[in-house]
Assembly symmetry: C2
Homo-oligomer: 162 residues x 2
């Protein structure tokens, strides 16, 4: 059970977009170059973000993407679910219903106990991702990344942002 690599790509792209000045846009091409990713396929991840309403787009030269909200309003969970989908990791096929000892037409009152427990674990995962915003990430990155690399990247981005 592994998340799509598009999740990783979307998170990194949002991290870059969160440093973009107000009203400017960054293209798929620039984001793909910056991360060494296939432009066409990265585009699908960005489209998912767009469909989820997390980013805004413009067309034409100088077009591209920018965040639809401020970084402290955008959570990891929103980004992950935009790309990966909001479904649960545990799918209950209700195999208890195949138990030959059950009376015919027997109807369960509640979801399977095993599924309920697995879903609680899913919810713990989601709760953690919901608690972290892009702004939080920005603070961590500011400490992680050497200032000169951070600055160089920022200038590289600004040069390409429409």
């Amino acid at each position: 059970m592994i998340l799509k690599s598009q999740v990783e790509w979307a998170l990194h792209c949002c991290a870059i977009l969160s440093g973009l000045p107000e009203g400017r846009y960054l293209s798929t091409k620039a984001l793909a170059e910056l991360h060494g990713l296939p432009k066409e396929y990265l585009s699908k991840a960005l489209q998912s973000l767009s469909q989820a309403g997390l980013v805004l787009t413009t067309l034409g030269p100088s077009g591209g993407y920018r965040l639809a909200k401020t970084p402290n309003e955008l959570t990891f969970l929103e980004i992950v679910e935009a790309v990966e989908g909001g479904g649960r990791t545990f799918v209950c096929n209700n195999i208890r219903a195949n138990n030959p000892c059950r009376p015919k037409g027997y109807c369960e009152s509640s979801p399977c106990a095993i599924a309920r427990i697995m879903w609680e674990a899913d919810e713990a995962w989601r709760a953690k991702l919901r608690s972290v915003t892009l702004a939080d990430l920005g603070e961590i990155l500011a400490q992680d990344i050497p200032p000169d690399i951070w600055k160089g990247t920022f200038e590289w981005v600004l040069k390409r942002a429409g």
Copy 2:
């Protein structure tokens, strides 16, 4: 990102095995019939449990599986990881290293901040699963399942247990 259905199968099988009297074994065939599952493929899931040391096996007629520990020593996490593997759901491909603004040969000091956050969410998921034992599940099932079905299933199992 969906867990293998074998995870569901393994959990249900362990739930049944946890009700088995001391020293008796239940075969793949019986477990497959009880849950309406393909015997040969279910066998792979049970082999995973065996390799992880969660169940004990015997060969020959009257052979099969029983738990290697008491139900209150066996956690959901152990069962899930035996089948699904213990890896993380988020794989970091370190795409930040592709950033053209980095000096050549630059070496990161710590894992990517995005990966660290995603891994914390994974750990929250695992922590929840680690906190629930088969004994806990048994208590919930005892309340969920009507006594006559529970009793009928138990007798069905005992009739087939070696």
